[in-house]
Amino acid sequence: MVQVEEYPEITITLNVNGKDYTVNVKPYERLIDVLRYKLGFLSIKEGCGRGECGSCAIIMDGKLVPSCLVLAIQARGRKILTLEGIAPPGKLHAIQKALLDTYAMQCGFCFPGVIMASYYLLSKNKNPTEDEIKYALSGNLCRCGSYLRFVKAVKLAAEYIRKGQVYFDLKK
């Protein structure tokens, strides 16, 4: 029999997409589990669970990090941005629109990570070159192999944003 020790829960505050959430977490819980199952941010996907695939990428304190390699306690009091927070409710961000326009989606599992990585790139660089895009997305694995369309989509999104079209209506 493996002896399972009961750890007391710790109360922490997470700032997700501009809103404060107070949650009780076990000390060993990962940020991805807390965000997904306790707070319901289901856009974060778990691919490999060891920081290789990039599907669980979020932006924490202005830096792109894999949420599977951050303990929830380590994120206490830090600002977290997930896919749900990049556009107002009912709208699409330019990156999402560009990905749709280029038909980049096949299964779409890696999308939340790809969008966060692209968002992070475009927040720092309004006019990225092809190499810069490839490097920025190098941490995102796509099982369907849509990599070339991602590059096209990020270029298109950069164009949209430069024109001032950051948000799009869902129905168009």
């Binding site: 020790e5 710790i10 000390p27 060993y28 990962r30 669970g49 060891r50 920081g51 290789e52 990039g54 990428a57 830096k63 792109l64 990090v65 894999p66 599977c68 390699l69 951050v70 303990l71 306690i73 380590q74 206490r76 990585a117 490097y135 920025a136 190098s138 941490g139 995102n140």
Partner: protein, 288 residues
């Protein structure tokens, strides 16, 4: 999980509870090990709260001092990647895992992990770096070569923390380079990695240091016989060729595994050594 209020608090807690308590900074290695069931620490001491305090890079009295919690992306914003003498840091960073891990992984953690894939260790070997360890009893400075004794084994007490990495400023006419060879260079560890430090004076090799991910053990180390051979000679392709064909194989023992054979690794080590030396030379002359 224990959340210390200050570094002293963390040290006291570690002193009482080590080795059951392990420090965690970025967590990119320890969390994977815990999930694979390789280690089972009872308590983790969270150091990430001190990341703003301990992630500096500064010049003090002719030495470069790096805080152990400096992340890889943090180092990218310091003078280390702009100064031509330390361009090796830019090389490591460019080949260091995927962009998402760079924001978490720390240089102190890279040393603490102590495997042959610890790229910063390979680079810091050629800079003859020293590591400052702190504990409740005080601090001590250990050369990096003596600190890492075996794979995943450090010559440090469980209650000590890696605090700073220190190395002397290199002279003006010197530079460093780092090379990683692999089919998927960024995502996984390299087949062969090589770091070089070169100091040239009128075309003569004044000083040279060469480190590989593995020389004889299972940890990064320096090819000292090859260095001795090269010192004082003229920098030319013939000399380098002679060094890696005649001297390097006498001290390097590579192992075969499912990723590459020992012979291939040795061959690539020779190539990497040549390229890294040429790169360091071109950097001394003002190139990249």
């Amino acid at each position: 999980m224990y959340i210390p209020k200050s570094i002293d608090d963390a040290l006291e807690y570690l002193d009482k509870h080590a080795p059951d308590a392990l420090p965690i900074a970025g967590g990119t290695d320890i969390l994977i090990q815990i999930r694979e069931g390789k280690i089972r620490p009872k308590v983790l001491v969270d150091l990430s709260g001190f990341r703003n305090k301990l992630s500096y890079v500064k010049r003090v009295n002719g030495k470069v001092v790096i805080g152990a919690l400096a992340s890889v992306s943090g180092l990218d914003e310091t003078f280390l990647v702009k100064d031509k003498r330390y361009l090796g840091f830019a090389d490591v960073s460019a080949k260091f895992a995927s962009p998402v891990l760079k924001a978490l992984a720390t240089i102190g953690g890279n040393i603490g992990v102590a495997v042959s894939a610890s790229d910063y260790v390979t680079l810091l070997h050629v800079l003859e770096a020293q590591v400052k360890l702190v504990s409740v009893k005080g601090e001590r400075i250990v050369p990096l070569e003596k600190l890492i004794v075996e794979k995943r084994t450090l010559a440090k007490e469980p209650n000590e923390l890696i605090y700073e990495i220190i190395f002397s400023e290199s002279p003006e006419n010197s530079s460093t380079a780092f090379m990683k060879f692999d089919r998927r260079e960024m995502i996984i560890t390299g087949y062969v990695t090589c770091a070089t430090y070169l100091q040239l004076e009128n075309g003569i090799i004044r000083d040279v240091r060469i480190a590989f991910d593995r020389v004889s053990g299972r940890i990064p180390g320096r090819a000292k016989k090859t260095e001795e051979f090269l010192k004082g000679k003229e920098f030319s392709l013939d000399v380098i060729r002679q060094a890696y064909n005649e001297v390097l194989p006498t001290e390097m023992k590579r192992k075969s595994d499912y990723r590459a054979s020992a012979e291939y690794r040795l061959d690539m080590s020779k190539v990497m050594m040549k390229r890294a030396l040429l790169k360091a030379k071109s950097r001394i002359e003002g190139g990249v």
